[in-house]
Amino acid sequence: MDTAEHTIYRAAIQGDREAFETVIRSTSRNLFAIAYGILQSREEAEDVVQDTFVKAWKSRWRVRDSVKLPAWLSTIARHRARDLARKRRPEPLPENFESNEVVPFEGATGQKADLDGEVRSALAQLPELHRAAVTLRYFEDLDYGTIEQTLGLTNGALRGILGRALGLMRKRLKPALAATG
């Protein structure tokens, strides 16, 4: 861990507002990516990120190990986003979201709007963690190590998660891919 960053994290935890604002600047994009992955809505994701920082500021002394501050922030953001998603969409995830059965793709067109919708639904079928990983990767172009750290995962765990996530999405998007590819 970078010593300068570490110092900033510690200062932020001890109540230094400037340090905390620095933390906000450096982590808010990642948090947005995570929240967007879960909620699929930019406005809601932004609200979640904001709430996350306010809540984190109020309970910052709970962080014992200052290195884990980013992971802690993303945990808060994930929980908050999930709560919001549940409130918005009380019905559970479809039973068959993980099945290998290919959902028939109707009205395959090369139009961008349709593709957008396809990607959205393909993302929606993934578990939260997987979604967060995908959005983090594609939004912020982070390497595996940084993503793992941000999500609080163990070293090397992300490779499997992303592989599985992209595999599932690929199967889901197969018809569309065939159409465009």
Partner: protein
């Protein structure tokens, strides 16, 4: 890596390849596999397309460039910076140490508060005061409860006094004849009477025309009173049985004359002298007691006359109400008489059985006995009521003039002697009919101290000679004579009484002269290099001057100083000579003299003892052995250790005070943490499950 594993992990490798996260070796192997495996190649193609699509579509969704700035400014809006002190305090409170300190301070404050609270509760108003303030009311209430008749009686009296009170029904008055007015007012609190009176007054005019009716009521009452069993006299006490007694104490000039006068007064008031007794005192004065019986109505007049006889010392008048007892006995008597009548009838007619007859006879006897007893009681009470008893104590004036005086002389003699036993025996040898030895005692204790005590009774004419003789035997420490004039048969100054000298009581205490307290004590120091030699010389000088060495000591201290202390006693006459010769021994320093003058005792000053305490010493080493590095170090360490032990003790006290609190807080904290952890774990587990599924 095996081909089959590559095939199985195609998703993972594909994603990593697309995202540029494969190592060079992995990439090579993967691409080699793609050439061989059509299925994987297909997947690779699709993946590449998807990657492009995702990059395109998701790029639009990502946060705009101003996003961070927006987040920061919104954060500033939503979490306003706390200004100054409050912010500092809230920030401080986040720190664990500050939290602990605050908790401790809170505990201390609580403890202090508790002490203040308990301290205040001690000065609380005692419940007794409340009780005291409540009591009169409750007592009043009880009084009312106990005497329901009293109120009714008041009503009766009032109806009589006001004469217009129709509110009170006559029937309630009849069974309880009204007592004297003053008796009622004493038993019933005034406010009640006022209260009763008030409505009566308001209705005065209203009931004016009904006076006649009330009159009949009054006559009913009188009738009821007259129908009572023993109508003796008229007035408010008409049917009350009152026993009146009086006592009076008088001082008169002549006893006999007074008795005659009293007898005359008693006859005037239709009474008689019941008993009379007298006794003659040692000084010829008479004292006696006369009991007179007079009619109760004449009692007050009789007492008034009594005052003319002499000086009234004290007088008491008592009245006892025996009405209830009287009527009780009377009704029981009536019943007993009826019973007697019945038994006689049975004896005459009913039974013929001998055993029964005997039984009836026995019962009749018992009843008759009872009747007689009750009759006796009634007769006694009647006599008590019929006559008031006046007990008069008479004493002639100047009762206490003494008959004679006796002069009692007591002498106290304290002696000091070298040979106590010899003197003791000499005094004992003085014994004769005129010199009686009542006690003689000699005490020897284990330290060799001897003392003796003797008590003598001397005939008055011999006393002075004997005392002087004894005084010559030894040194007199103290001599005291007290003379008491004892009057016999009274007190005061009897001018005519004669005075006699009684035997003289002489108490002697004999002690050895060593025990005598010195008249003068002197202490001095002599500095000399040769302590031992000088001490020997000192002893010689003392002997020469007739002194006796009482104690001596020798010591040497760590500084090399030598001390020799000698205490000696010389007669006062040799004191000055001794002091002079001491100057030859060395440099005399620090002389202090104390003299105990005993002005009250006739002391022989020339022979009185003088104590001299002499310290002969050498100048010690200039540097004490108790100074120096080692000694200082030792002292310092000792003091340090003492201070350390003290602080340990203080901390121990504080810990003992705080430990229970810390324990309680610890337990609470532990429980809270366990609970919150369990809750968090459950929540986390639920999330994990959800994510896994």
């Amino acid at each position: 890596m095996l081909m089959s594993t590559i095939h199985e992990q195609v998703d993972e490798l594909l994603a990593a390849d697309l995202l540029d996260e494969l190592t060079a070796a992995e990439r090579e192997e993967f691409h080699a596999h793609l050439v061989e495996c059509a299925e994987c190649r297909q997947a690779f193609q699709e993946g590449k397309t998807m990657n492009r699509i995702l990059n395109e579509t998701l790029a639009e969704k990502k946060a705009d460039p101003a996003f961070e700035q927006r987040m920061v400014s919104r954060f500033r809006d939503r979490v306003p910076k706390r200004s100054g002190l409050i912010g500092m305090i809230t920030d401080l409170m986040r720190v664990r140490a500050v939290q602990l300190t605050a908790a401790a301070a809170l505990l201390l404050a609580l403890a202090q508060m508790g002490r203040i609270i308990t301290g205040e509760s001690m000065t609380e108003k005692s419940p007794r005061a409340d009780y005291a303030s409540n009591r009169p009311e409750s007592a009043l209430y009880n009084n009312d409860q106990e005497k329901p008749g009293a109120r009714r009686e008041v009503a009766g009296v009032l109806s009589k006094a006001e004469g217009r009170n129709k509110v009170v029904a006559p029937s309630t008055v009849a069974p309880a004849p009204p007592p004297p007015m003053d008796a009622v007012t004493s038993t019933v609190p005034k406010p009640q009477i006022e209260a009763l009176r008030a409505p009566a007054k308001t209705k005065k005019t209203e009931f004016k025309d009904e006076t006649t009716e009330i009159t009949t009521t009054n006559s009913d009452v009188t009738a009821a009173a007259e129908s009572a069993p023993s109508p003796s006299t008229t007035g408010p006490t008409a049917n009350r049985k009152l026993v009146r007694n009086a006592t009076a104490e008088l001082e008169v000039v002549s006893f006999d004359e007074s008795v005659q006068k009293i007898t005359a007064f008693a006859a005037e008031e239709k009474g008689y002298v019941s008993t009379s007794s007298s006794e003659k005192q040692a000084n010829g004065k008479l004292r006696g007691e006369i009991v007179v019986k007079v009619l109760p109505d004449n009692l007050d007049r009789f007492l008034g006359k009594l005052r003319g006889i002499g000086e009234l010392k004290n007088q008491a008048l008592t009245t006892e109400d025996v009405t209830k007892a009287y009527f009780d006995t009377e009704s029981r008597l009536k019943n007993a008489r009826l019973m007697e009548q019945r038994l006689i009838e049975i004896l005459k007619t009913k039974s013929k059985d001998v055993a029964d007859l005997l039984e009836v006879e026995k019962e009749l006897g018992r009843v008759r006995e009872e009747i007689e007893t009750m009759q006796g009681e009634l007769k006694f009470m009647d006599s008590q009521v019929a006559f008031a008893t006046v007990t008069i104590t008479l004493a002639e004036k100047n009762m206490n003039v003494p008959a004679a005086f006796l002069l009692k002389e007591r002498a106290q003699l304290s002696l000091y002697a070298t040979e106590v036993e010899k003197i003791y025996n000499d005094i004992k040898a003085l014994a004769s009919p005129k010199v009686q030895i009542t006690t003689a005692q000699i005490d020897r204790d284990n330290t060799g101290r001897v003392s003796a005590r003797l008590s003598l009774l001397l005939a008055p004419e011999e006393s002075e000679a004997v005392i002087n003789k004894i005084k010559g035997m030894a040194r007199v420490e103290n001599f005291q004579v007290t003379t008491d004039r004892v009057s016999q048969g009274g007190d005061g100054l009897g001018e005519s009484a004669k005075t006699e000298r009684d035997k003289v009581e002489l108490n002697i205490t004999l002690s050895r002269d060593e025990q005598e307290i010195a008249l003068q004590s002197t202490s001095l120091r002599i500095q000399t290099p040769e302590v031992n030699d000088k001490t020997k010389q000192l002893r010689a000088i003392a002997e020469q001057q007739g002194g006796r060495i009482r104690s001596s000591s020798f010591s040497r201290d760590p500084n090399g100083r030598e001390y020799s202390t000698v205490s000696l006693r010389v007669p006062m006459k040799n004191y000055n000579a001794l002091m002079q010769s001491l100057n030859g021994l060395g440099k005399v320093e620090n002389v202090s003299v104390r003299r105990d003058d005993r002005p009250n005792s006739q002391t022989d000053e020339a022979n009185a003892p003088a104590d001299v305490s002499i310290q002969v010493y050498t100048q010690g080493n200039i540097v004490s052995e108790e100074t120096g590095l080692w000694a200082t170090l030792r002292r310092t360490i000792g003091q340090g250790a003492a201070a350390l032990m003290w602080s340990v003790r203080m901390i121990g006290v504080a810990v003992a005070f705080l430990a229970p609190w810390a324990l309680i807080l610890g337990v609470i904290g532990w429980v809270v943490r366990r609970v919150s952890r369990a809750r968090a774990a459950r929540k986390h587990a639920a999330e994990e499950q959800e994510e896994q599924s």
